[in-house]
């Protein structure tokens, strides 16, 4: 594959990633957000495989496989199980209306492109659109975490944000050292485990979600 084809494919995957991000922000039900984040991780795995095929970097194949197994299948499945077991309300509870969140997401995307445009032709040469797309994904993930009440939807935001970081790092550096990538994935798994356990424990002991914890006073 020529480098132009690879750039074009990475750009296309970036557009699809933005689309899944919009779906996550707009999702009114927890399940839809979970499926959207699974699709997003699948796209990241495809991007890693494309980069692996073009650069011949063997580590990237491992990364693609790990992303597919852990982030596209394992974690969404885990979230799914937790949602089923907890018997919570299936609707996302936003702090501000979802339409307002969508408007903020648009502002983030435009800002990300505007900021990266200041890097000039160098950015275009190195990464195509991957850098602004990655920044937009990361910040929108943070936005999702900030504007949702329940812990599970915040977790979806965390995964999406992490996907954005992963995509940026991968596309800009053509593959980081394997040990770092594995460390990042382990971090995510750990965060997911801790949050899941916390959610389940809090619910089983005091029957409250973390949104109710802000009324605690020491």
């Amino acid at each position: 594959m020529s480098s132009e084809t690879v750039h074009a494919i990475i750009d296309d995957i970036g557009a699809l990633l933005l689309f899944t991000m919009i779906l996550i922000v707009a999702a009114g039900q927890i399940y839809r957000a979970i499926y959207a984040v699974a699709a997003q991780s699948l796209l990241i795995a495809i991007a890693a495989a494309v980069l692996a095929a073009s650069t011949g970097n063997r580590d990237l194949w491992v990364i693609a496989g790990l992303t597919l197994g852990v982030k596209a299948i394992g974690l969404p499945w885990g979230l799914h199980v937790v949602v089923q077991r907890m018997n919570v309300r299936r609707e996302v509870e936003p702090v501000i209306p979802i339409a307002a969140t969508l408007a903020l997401a648009v502002a983030i995307v435009v800002m990300a492109f505007q900021v990266s445009a200041s890097l000039g032709p160098i950015r275009q040469a190195i990464t195509g659109n991957a850098l602004p797309v990655g920044i937009a994904l990361t910040l929108t993930g943070v936005l999702v975490m900030a504007t949702r009440r329940t812990a599970l939807t915040q977790m979806v935001g965390l995964f999406a944000s992490e996907n954005g970081l992963f995509f940026t790092a991968m596309a800009v550096t053509q593959g980081m050292p394997l040990i770092i990538e594995i460390g990042v994935i382990l971090d995510v798994i750990l965060a997911a485990l801790v949050m899941t356990i916390m959610v389940l424990r809090v619910r089983s002991t005091v029957d409250a979600d973390i949104a109710d914890l802000d009324r605690l006073r020491g």
Binding site: A8, D11, D12, G14, A15, L16, L18, F19, I22, L23, V25, A26, G28, I98, A99, L102, A105, V106, V109, V110, F113, Q114, A117, N129, P132
Partner: protein, 314 residues
């Protein structure tokens, strides 16, 4: 002015669009019925409905003004005029000044406006409610459609649909850039709204509180109602043709003989067929949204279209 589509060809395409419009509706309804394990009416049912309506007499509300009878004719005329702008059999700009995608959307908006005026004029409660709802949804749909059109027009440097489609070239899917994916996603979100289908509107109900477009037709009867229904069939196929022209122009370009034209029409039919399957699947797998949730649904389309534009420009 030279172009690839002479006047005769445009007239021929226009006739074809108007004639095939009811067939598209019939096909969607048949497919929907099969998906719901029903036998369903034949695909030709819309034609039979139209023929029946044209034979009937007209009854008008006492409160309706003298303008009321002209509404169906004007609506049909502006929709059919919009149909003239859609390239069917051959790509490329028309050989005479005709109008572009902005004109097409404007004509569709005019038809929508006239329908609403007619519904308000007759003074029925359902008509007024349908009109007010339609006018709530329309300002959310039309700007986004404009943005989708512009996001492809920026790349082609023209808003003329035939030229836009020709710029897209024949290797359609492989030539898709990043912005096209998002633009197409926005278009798929908007398509049910623009054609008046679930999850925004429900074309199957009459006399229910959920209806938008059908509510506005209640006061019409006989040939007038026939005109309105033909107009909504035509509007649907025109919208599908717009999507086909913007996103999948696979029309074989070579030659100008009858065979090339037939191939062009055939490929147009295939493209519309794909969209018909999509609409039928969406209609059978989703419930109608509450009216207050519709802006949020259309907001997804808006954001997609805006990001597509951002990808093109920034």
């Amino acid at each position: 002015m030279t172009g690839d589509r002479p006047l005769e060809l445009v007239l021929l395409e226009l006739t074809l669009l108007v004639l095939l419009g009811p067939l598209v509706t019939g096909a969607i309804q048949k497919m929907k019925a099969r998906l719901q394990c029903r036998q369903g009416a034949g695909v030709l049912q819309p034609y039979r409905d139209l023929a029946k309506l044209l034979r009937k007499g007209t009854v008008q509300a006492d409160t309706a003004s003298g303008f009321f009878w002209a509404i169906p004719i004007l609506v049909l005329a502006s929709t059919v005029a919009a149909g003239a702008l859609v390239p069917v059999a051959r790509l490329g700009p028309p050989g005479f000044p005709l109008g572009d995608a902005v004109m097409l959307l404007g004509l569709l908006a005019l038809a929508r406006f006239l329908t609403a005026i007619g519904a308000l004029d007759a003074g029925g409660a359902f008509g007024g409610m349908g009109a007010s709802r339609e006018m709530t949804v329309a300002p959310l749909v039309e700007p986004v459609l404009m943005m989708v059109v512009f996001s492809t027009a920026v790349a082609a440097g023209t808003t003329e649909l035939g030229a836009l489609a020709a710029h897209r070239g024949t290797s359609w899917f492989l030539a898709w850039r990043a912005a096209d994916f998002l633009g197409f996603a926005a278009m798929l979100v908007l398509l049910p709204a623009e054609t008046g289908r679930i999850p925004v509107d429900n074309p199957d109900t009459h006399l229910e509180l959920t209806m938008l477009h059908e509510g506005m037709l209640l006061e019409h009867s006989g040939p007038g109602l026939g005109c309105m229904m033909l107009a909504s069939h035509t509007r649907q196929i025109v919208t599908l043709g717009l999507v086909a022209a913007l996103f999948f122009p696979v029309t074989p370009m070579g030659g100008s003989g009858a065979l090339a034209l037939l191939l062009g029409v055939g490929s147009f039919a295939v493209k519309v067929g794909v969209l018909v399957v999509f609409l039928a699947l969406v209609e059978s797998s989703y419930a109608k949204l509450r009216l207050f949730r519709v802006p949020q649904y259309l907001g997804v389309g808006f954001v997609c279209a805006l990001v597509a534009l951002a990808l093109r420009i920034l």
